[in-house]
């Protein structure tokens, strides 16, 4: 079967060639199609994956093609018989390849002779054109994939961003704000941190080119300043810790602490007089000796526990004031055999008097911290045009959960049970200034009004004039100092030296 084996080898080579062509073409076609799809849909597909997919498809399709086309003896024999009209000679020869017998051998020899006589050109590869066309088509698809443009992502529609460049007014305003804080009564280390924050903001805004960026920087600074002041104050933590106590007197004291106004605090301790007299916290301690001493110890213990739970450092002024109060209660509890009046006298002198003296002082400082914070935040809002809607949620002055939402019944009595302050804006000075547009009475214009009411408007006008260069240097300096004083309540240098802050 030599001739047959030779022909089989030829067909085998044909199968390999067609398998390779088919595999390569389909691999290329697959990669091209995938590439086009992913490009046009904008989906991501790692480059190495294309290679993997292409190779897998090429190998699989090439392999399958080869397996289909590879010449098997019987199939090839049939193919040769049909193609060249050998009247089943080759099939018979292949089937009886293992048989011996004279006739079988004659048949084999006869068939081999016929195969030998086959012109070589009759055995050339057929249908190769189809495979070449497939290759060309695949290459065309691949080249198309290379050059086809990727889908352009539509630009997100949103608010258009304006360009921003820090002007002199902003710069000056910010510098003034920094000076204000430096000269304010904001407690350390908050003062240093707020100044640093504002200086950073000044530096950053100098390089900012877009309005959205600018606002982001400003809002970030506001949030951080809010947090700085929040960290330096302690009344909220102490208040909340004391409010956790099960003791009603301690709870009442917590409510009193939640108000930063001294008058409110005093009233909470002493109570009110007159027609609508109300007992203060101090009055709750009027008990007989037998009950009072353990009671005092309980209150003292509760206060100390609350202070510990608050997490505030024991060097804090407010902490110290409350701790001293607790210690005083413990001291009074040691005294025995006293009358009610004596007990009351001891309580007043040892515990309540120092409390009433020290707590308001501590609270006042923290109130000033809040005021400075509020001023800085409002100023930043004003200078950089941050709207209320853009403002982040801030800590606020009120203690959370302690009637912090609005005015309560107690507020009506003058005792603010929740929140800090009455809600009125407090200015650092009670100076009056002349406003020509102020309507004193009907048809009568021009009068003095509280400076705070027009301060911002005046500030803006003057800042604008300073920025425009309308004012002289001397006037600029004078007006800047004046506005500083108005905003921060700062005394002049002479008053500072006298120790009046």
């Amino acid at each position: 079967m030599n001739e047959f084996q030779k022909i089989k080898k030829k067909f085998h080579k044909e199968a390999v060639l067609k398998g390779a062509l088919c595999g390569f073409s389909l691999g290329l076609l697959t990669v091209g199609v995938l590439w086009i799809i992913f490009k046009r849909t904008g989906m991501a597909f790692a480059p190495w994956l294309y290679i993997v997919v292409g190779v897998v498809v090429a190998l699989a399709s090439g392999g399958i093609t080869y397996l289909i086309l590879r010449p098997r003896d019987k199939k090839l024999a049939k193919r040769l018989d049909e193609r060249f009209g050998f009247d089943e000679k080759v099939q018979t020869m292949v089937e009886f390849v293992d048989e011996s017998g004279e006739m079988v051998e004659l048949q084999r020899a006869d068939t081999e002779a016929r195969l030998r006589e086959l012109p070589k050109q009759k055995l050339k590869i057929r249908h190769i054109l189809e495979f070449i066309l497939l290759l060309i088509l695949s290459a065309a698809v691949f080249v198309t994939a290379v050059f086809i443009p990727a889908k352009e992502e539509p630009k997100a529609e949103g608010p258009t961003d304006n360009a921003y460049e820090m002007d002199e007014y902003d710069r000056l305003s910010l510098r003034q704000l920094i000076e204000y804080v430096k000269n304010s009564d904001l407690e350390e280390p908050a003062k240093t941190e707020v100044v640093s924050e504002l200086e950073n903001l000044l530096a950053v805004l100098d390089d900012t080119e877009w309005e959205s960026e600018m606002k982001a920087h400003v809002i970030g600074a506001i949030q951080r300043i809010d947090l700085i002041v929040e960290n330096v104050n302690s009344y909220k933590e102490i208040c909340l810790a004391m409010n956790e106590s099960t003791n009603s007197e301690v709870k009442a004291l917590a409510v009193a602490v939640s108000e930063l106004e001294e008058e409110v605090f005093q009233l909470a301790i002493d109570g009110t007089t007159g027609e609508e007299a109300k007992e203060g916290i101090r009055a709750q301690f009027n008990l007989t000796e037998a009950a009072l001493n353990p009671y005092l110890l309980t209150v003292a213990d509760e206060i100390k526990t609350a202070l510990k739970d608050s997490g505030i450092a024991d060097t804090d002024a407010l902490y110290k004031a409350w701790n001293a109060f607790a210690v005083a209660l413990e001291e009074v509890a040691q005294h025995t055999g006293l009358t009610d009046e004596q007990y009351q006298s001891e309580l007043d002198s040892l515990a309540f008097a120092p409390l009433k003296a020290s707590v308001p002082v501590a609270l006042a400082k923290q109130a000033v911290n809040n005021e400075v914070r509020a001023y800085v935040i409002d100023a930043l809002k004003e200078i950089f045009g941050i709207t209320d809607a853009e403002m982040p949620r801030l800590s606020g002055d009120k203690v959370p959960g302690m009637n912090g939402g609005g005015e309560s019944d107690k507020e009506q009595d003058g005792i603010h049970s929740g929140g800090l302050g009455s809600g009125n804006t407090v200015y650092g000075s009670d100076d009056m200034i002349y406003d020509p547009d102020y309507e004193v009475s009907e048809g009568v214009f021009g009068g003095h009004i509280s400076y705070g009411e027009v301060l911002d408007a005046y500030n803006a006008i003057i800042m604008g004039m300073i920025a425009d260069g309308t004012l002289s240097e001397e006037m600029e300096e004078m007006l800047s100092d004046y506005l500083d004083a108005l905003y921060s309540g700062k005394q002049n240098e002479e008053n500072k030296q006298d120790g009046n802050e």
Binding site: E88, T92, G101, M103, L106
Partner: protein, 351 residues
Amino acid sequence: MENAERVKNFSEAVAQIKTELHKDVVGQEEIIDNVIIAIIAGGNVLLEGVPGVGKTRLVRSLGKTLSLPFSRIQFTPDLMPSDVTGTNIVEKDDGGKLNTVFRRGPIFANLVLADEINRATPKTQSAMLEVMQEHKVTIANATYKLEEPFFVLATENPIEQDGTYPLPEAQMDRFMFKLLMTFPKVEELADIVNMTQITMDETAQAVVNGEQILEMRKLASEIPVASEVLNYAMNLVSFTHPELEKTSDTAKKYVKYGASPRAAQALITCAKVRALVNGNYNVSYADIDALARPVLRHRIKINYNAVNDRLGVDDVIGLLIKETASRVGRKKVSATATVEEKEEKKEETQE
């Protein structure tokens, strides 16, 4: 003797037989080829043709060519079985003693011409059954073997059907081929007339003998058949049966009953001979297709649908060949296969 030598002798013998036969028979190439194939294959042939086409002449010429003892039995309605096979008769020997002696009938020859076999009674026809199949005669518990090669060539007249007895299926099945002798062409007719003007006697000479025929038979039996070809032949026979589950649509539509397994045997045996006659060393699809009609036409019965569609048994066989070829996955059907192609060829030749 080497096979190549044997094959060469085979081819030469066949060529010589053909040459001699053509001395006495004009045309009828296909008939002559098939008769030779049948003889070599060891089968019997039923020749059908109108009177005067040369049926008897062919067989007589064949007998001369093969130098085989030849006998002719003219079947008539009054022919008895013993007239065919022979009978026991009482004879006086030399000593005057009466003995029963078997007197052989005309069947005891190598080549028997059963002329107009359909005119004999079924009883007489059945006497031929054992002879044709088993090549022996049994009379009164005594069996007499016939000398090989034994060959029955029967003739039928398709015209005169009055007073005839159609051959039973069992006997029909014992004929390897049924060949149809057609009326000669005009040119052939002229040749016949010219030839018979000279002499009416057969002029063929003996070129082979019985031993050579047997040798040729043995050689042909060694021809290999590929399984695909064998499978095709078996499917062809199987597809003639409409009652089978896996059968052809043609049989379901046009066939009343199909061919017996003898048809399959005949197909393969004769295909081997035909292959060798054509100088091939293997059986091909073309061999099967060419022999399908002679082998099957007397073995299958077509139904009324075929008659209604004006299809003869040969047409139905053509459809069977086409359908079988398609079912086994043959791409090309050989030119001898279908009647339509034959008719197209005829038209082309006439044009």
